[in-house]
């Protein structure tokens, strides 16, 4: 069997893309920090932080490209922002104003779905429906490690495989479903499980956005070339609790939490690009200004 493969080089991001990756990661981090601050003040009812997931989210979303429709779970804030959801729109539902603060059509980023894995079937159905109408049918669906135990996830993988739907499944495996460790959630990796359904897959570490970008670019090329689904499982670290409502110290060792914080993808990638001379102090200052303005706008809007 001839296996088509793109080499690392063909999918590695160029320098502009690398700066873009870092900028989106830093903005997402700033918004997340502000959201957590506002939640502590009682302005937000709840916030599921995406700290630690930024490289996975930004790398996958950038690789999928603007034509793809994104069907998120509920923690894909960095993807949302990258797709053009404004920070004000992103926070609106967590302040209790609405169930969805943005126009999903405008940004091709669907509303968050709180019922775990329900969105995976919507994603496949949407891709099938778009293909039937002769429209762009590439869909990216996000799901967490715990949610892959839901029947809908297995059904969606099987449906996507049988229908050969143009769906990229992005599993962010942060090792936890609230307090349940991923090792107790499954005996195999999700990537391995996907193959059992007849879906090509890859498992990649999620600390380096370039690795994620490359893997998801290859996955996207596979989907567009073969008109068949692909699953990428990205191992990430969850820096904060599941949401602002739980104290992870109750079920997670302090060592583990410290290790995850130390492996922060945002500071890691910032240091790397700085070290390589791709970004300088002036560049960081500009991003900081942008983030400060966003935070001020959020405070003004909601606090």
């Amino acid at each position: 069997m001839a296996v088509k493969s793109l080499s690392e080089n063909e999918t590695a991001p160029d320098d502009d893309t690398r700066r873009t990756l870092l900028r989106h990661m830093l903005v997402a981090r700033g918004v997340d920090e502000e959201a957590r601050r506002l939640q502590k003040q009682g302005v937000l009812d709840l916030w599921p932080s995406c700290e630690g997931h930024e490289a996975a989210q930004v790398g996958s979303a950038l690789a999928a490209g603007p034509a793809a429709t994104v069907v998120p779970s509920y923690r894909e804030h960095a993807v949302a922002l990258l797709r053009g959801v404004t920070p004000e729109e992103l926070l609106a539902q967590w302040t209790g104003r609405t169930f969805c603060g943005w126009d999903p059509h405008r940004v091709r980023f669907f509303p968050y779905t709180m019922v775990l894995a329900a969105q995976t079937l919507h994603a496949v159905g949407y891709a099938i429906g778009r293909r039937m109408q002769g429209l762009e049918d590439f869909v990216v669906v996000y799901v967490g490690d715990g949610a892959t135990s839901e029947g809908d996830m297995s059904e969606a993988m099987n449906l996507a495989a049988v229908e050969s739907a143009s769906v990229l499944f992005v599993v962010q495996n942060n090792g936890w479903a609230i307090s349940k460790p991923a090792e107790e959630q499954m005996r195999t990796s999700v990537a391995e499980r996907a193959r059992g359904f007849g879906i090509a897959s890859a498992a990649v570490p999620g600390r380096d956005p370039e690795t994620v970008f490359a893997a998801c670019s290859r996955a996207a090329a596979h989907i567009r070339g073969e008109r068949a689904p692909f699953l990428v499982e990205i191992r990430v670290g969850r820096i904060n609790g599941h949401t602002t409502a739980d104290a992870q110290e109750v079920y997670r060792s302090s060592d583990d939490i410290a290790r995850t914080k130390a492996a922060d993808p945002v500071t890691g990638y910032a240091d790397r690009l700085r070290g390589q001379g791709l970004v300088d102090a002036a560049w960081f200052a500009a991003v900081e200004t942008e983030v400060r303005e966003i935070r001020e706008r959020l405070t003004k809007e909601y606090a």
Partner: protein
């Protein structure tokens, strides 16, 4: 007995309506287990795959959550999916997608999409079906905001309901009584049309008592009413929809007759009859000459075939109940 009339049966009317809709609207797709090659286990979709292709008359994977879940995604993409669940008792794996997703996506999108999505469910008993093939779970969905629930008892009504449902912009569950699919003769009904596609229908005019009912058992109610005439003159309201309930038509009827009996095949407790009785107590009390009564099976599982006669409400029970109420 006033005899019976022959009319196109329910399955034929639905088949014709679906063919028409597929013909008129390229966005319409049918999804269900065995609906294509076989034409459905009740042959309701017979011939449609040959005529409209396997892409539009889709033999679904054997998974009910998949059927409705993908339909939600298809509806978001601009298609109008009409799903078939094989039997009422196999609806449950799809309940999550119906209740938490189909019913809510329009609101979640702040009205930016209003997806039309129809789920057809063969329902009810009376044909010695094996376990889970005789259920009546319409009340389950009737209390879910965002879902409309239709219970047609004739082919003509099913046709009107389907045409309305595919354009509604929110999900509709249509319960199709299995024992009516191929029944060709039924008690005569008044030709009076319903006031609107979602309105109830006064299928027999009378002066002494109103029976509000819906679905397959409407035929038994009509038969009982004809049997009782001319001694007792029963008015029969076929609700046709249990969500929304057309209480206006029921209250107007009770205003004329002063008595109300609700008859349904689904179990009595916390059912459609309770809702109607409560509404009449609230808004129609002045018109009542006696207490509202309900006639429906006790709260127990649909039994094995040998015991179904004992479980189901028959013509005799309806007649007896009316006589007690009008004594």
């Amino acid at each position: 007995m006033t005899g019976t009339v022959r009319s196109p049966c329910l399955a034929e009317s639905i088949n014709t309506a679906l063919a028409d809709l597929l013909d008129q609207d390229p966005r319409l797709v049918l999804i269900g287990e065995d609906i294509g090659r076989l034409g459905g286990v009740f042959r309701v979709t017979r011939g449609l795959r040959e005529r409209f292709g396997a892409d539009r008359v889709r033999d679904a994977l054997l998974a009910e959550s998949t059927i409705v879940g993908q339909a939600v995604g298809m509806a978001m993409s601009g298609l109008v999916p009409v799903c078939e669940i094989q039997f009422d008792g196999f609806t449950y794996p799809a309940v999550n997608q119906l209740v938490t997703q189909a019913a809510r996506v329009g609101g979640r999108w702040n009205g930016r999409i209003s997806p039309s999505l129809v789920v057809r469910i063969p329902t009810a008993g009376g044909f010695r079906g094996v376990e889970h093939h005789n259920d009546s779970n319409e009340a389950l969905f009737a209390r879910v905001p965002g879902i409309s629930v239709a219970c047609p008892s004739t082919g003509e009504d099913a046709d009107q309901i389907l045409r309305y449902a595919v354009a509604l912009g929110s999900p509709v569950v249509v319960y199709e009584p299995i024992r009516l699919y191929w029944r060709r003769s039924s008690p005569p009904r008044s030709a009076e049309p319903a006031r609107s596609p979602t309105a109830a229908r006064v299928v027999r005019r009378g002066t002494d008592l109103t029976v509000a009912t819906y679905g397959a058992i409407t035929d038994e109610v009509l038969e009982a009413a004809h049997d009782l005439a001319p001694d007792v003159d029963v008015e029969v309201v076929d609700l046709r929809w249990v969500a929304p309930l057309d209480m206006d038509t029921v209250l107007e009827s009770v205003g004329r007759t002063g008595r109300l009996l609700v008859v349904h095949e689904a179990t009595k407790d916390v059912g459609i009859g309770a809702e109607i009785a409560a509404s009449v107590a609230e808004y129609g009390h002045d018109a009542l000459r006696g207490p509202v009564r309900r006639l429906a099976p006790d709260r127990r599982a649909y039994p094995p075939g040998d015991f179904e006669k004992d479980y189901m409400i028959g013509v005799r029970e309806i007649r007896d109940e009316v006589l007690v109420m009008t004594k």
